[in-house]
Symmetry: D3
């Protein structure tokens, strides 16, 4: 069993904001991330799949094809977008935190991973913060 | 003459958009950067000053003080903000491109650099694009 | 179950030195790391916790609060210090190797992790060497 | 149980090419990687071992010795070489993909890891692609 | 006057080899870089242009167009190629050192830089070696 | 005229401390950097030379030889040392700030640069601070 990881990137705007809360409570909980006019990040996304290398090609997966799937299903929908407003696969009202994004990206990608298994979604929001999801239910 | 550089960071939202233009022209010129609902970046800012090291302290400048000035005059005003809407020192209607930002940041910082000379403002918008300004008039 | 990681930094001096050994044996075992007058490193610390994202905030943990805990309990005590001499939570005589440090940092942090579980302490000593501890007893 | 990782580097040429296939099929499957006259990479190799830190030295392993073993058994044989032609421990005809390389490097190193256990071979081919092998049979 | 830089990448094979010299002399002068069956690198290319930001667009140059020119004139011809054998703009017999490559890339790009001036070609061969060319004749 | 740069590394301990000053004044001026028992850094050193590539070898300088000179004259004397106590070419009492170090390293290297010209010494103390010296007298 070997694991292979592909890195992709996207740049997006977002804010953390609970519409049922007052401005004060939003700022108290989310700090600068609650800025009304948004802020944004350069996100680095790492998608890891696992499987057995094919004896002829030496591939677990054709990484170029994997890259195309990630672009089509994930990063083309997130890149240069507003994560609160513009993205169909992010439910309205759900906070676009890194923690929530890795789960949503897993669900978005998993049906298209073929001939190997999705193992991990890792997402850097800044150089100091990243989240990981391994498909664990609990 | 020795040069010393301090790196700071900020995360911000922006878009490139000329309000006198049609949506089509904006998209034609600015592409994805014209997304109506904004996008964003993790910006890396490098401020370089030059001078002679003090014979006793070995400092051109107290880097901790320089860092405070950069934060007060620049990054505290840009971090977790919208560069088109929220920042006093960015003229409304001026495109918040990396090229324009380095000149504005120079003007913002230069009056507060004391005992040495501001040499360069360098700003990374992504790992693939950065701008530099050396105070050259032409 | 989602994992979130916060990176912090500290700069410290140390040496590897067994006081019961001769100078020759210390140099034989520890090489340049036994230099009597110390050497030092820029350490990069990664703290990973795991849990379920809160349905309202999208947080496993408030990363700003986690950062404050790491600073108070760990990096404020290590930063610009001598790891052999200055740090209360490092037992005197225990070698301040990266391997020992990750275990000590785990013990230092674990009581303060609340509402989620500490998963991993990862510490870079140089770009070429890092240690990890997952709380495994054996 | 603590894990420690050592990074090494090598620069090598290779191509992906199945000699039983036509040129067209090779290009269709491997794309630019099938270029007849080779291409190459700067590879970053991470070797992780696990064990208990020695109570006196604080070492799981003497990282300098581990580094020498990795050089002797792995990187000295790969560095500035052609992975299809020049390396004894890569079977002729096996594609030198990152997936296959991590398994071969594991087999090459494992007999020489003494006093601790080999845990992971991780190999970056580019900043966007890396493979990992944990010795799992299936 | 503002400077803007675009980073591109390519992966290539090469060797350093003077055909008029004996094998021994080639190995003496070029060491491992003379390996008969080639070796290779992940190259990072930085192209810097200078000019005045356009008052309406805020652009010195449309970086997307600059990127297309770099790809068409430079990196598409170098990527996944053999620098000694496959590239029309590298004269046969000229050593494909980083020093020579930056001059050749400058000559290749310069005629296509329009509305601003080419300022610098910077090329990383490894994380430890890079060359720069500013178009200086002597 | 082409420029080529070689990166080397060293890890060292130091403190900033003026012995004529009181403890209070040292702490006021140098903050945490005045810690009596030292602290330390992983330093990254970039040495840039300029010249014309040799028409036969394509070299401005044999980078392997340059690396040996840097090691012999600079990094072997700094690595795993105390910059205040252990290094002959750092005058006692001179603060080992990054600003002072780049000038001292220039003077240490310059006599040994042959067949090309030393252009720049650049030294990173942390990822956030670096100094540069170009040999300018004023």
């Amino acid at each position: 069993m070997v694991y292979i990881t592909r890195k992709e990137r996207f740049n997006a705007a977002h804010k953390l904001w609970v519409s049922e809360w007052s401005d004060e409570k939003n700022e108290e909980v989310f700090g600068k991330c609650a800025n009304a006019n948004w802020h944004g990040h350069n996100y680095d996304l790492f998608v890891t799949v696992k499987g057995k290398p094919d004896p002829v090609t030496g591939f677990i997966v054709d990484v170029k094809k994997l890259s195309k799937i990630i672009k089509r299903e994930v990063t083309d929908q997130l890149d240069h977008r507003n994560l609160n407003l513009d993205v169909e696969f992010i439910p309205k009202g759900l906070q676009p935190t890194t923690e929530n994004l890795v789960v949503l990206i897993w669900k978005q990608l998993e049906p298209y991973i073929d001939g190997c298994k999705l193992h991990c979604i890792k997402l850097y929001e800044t150089e100091n913060i990243y989240a990981e999801y391994f498909g664990e239910e609990d």
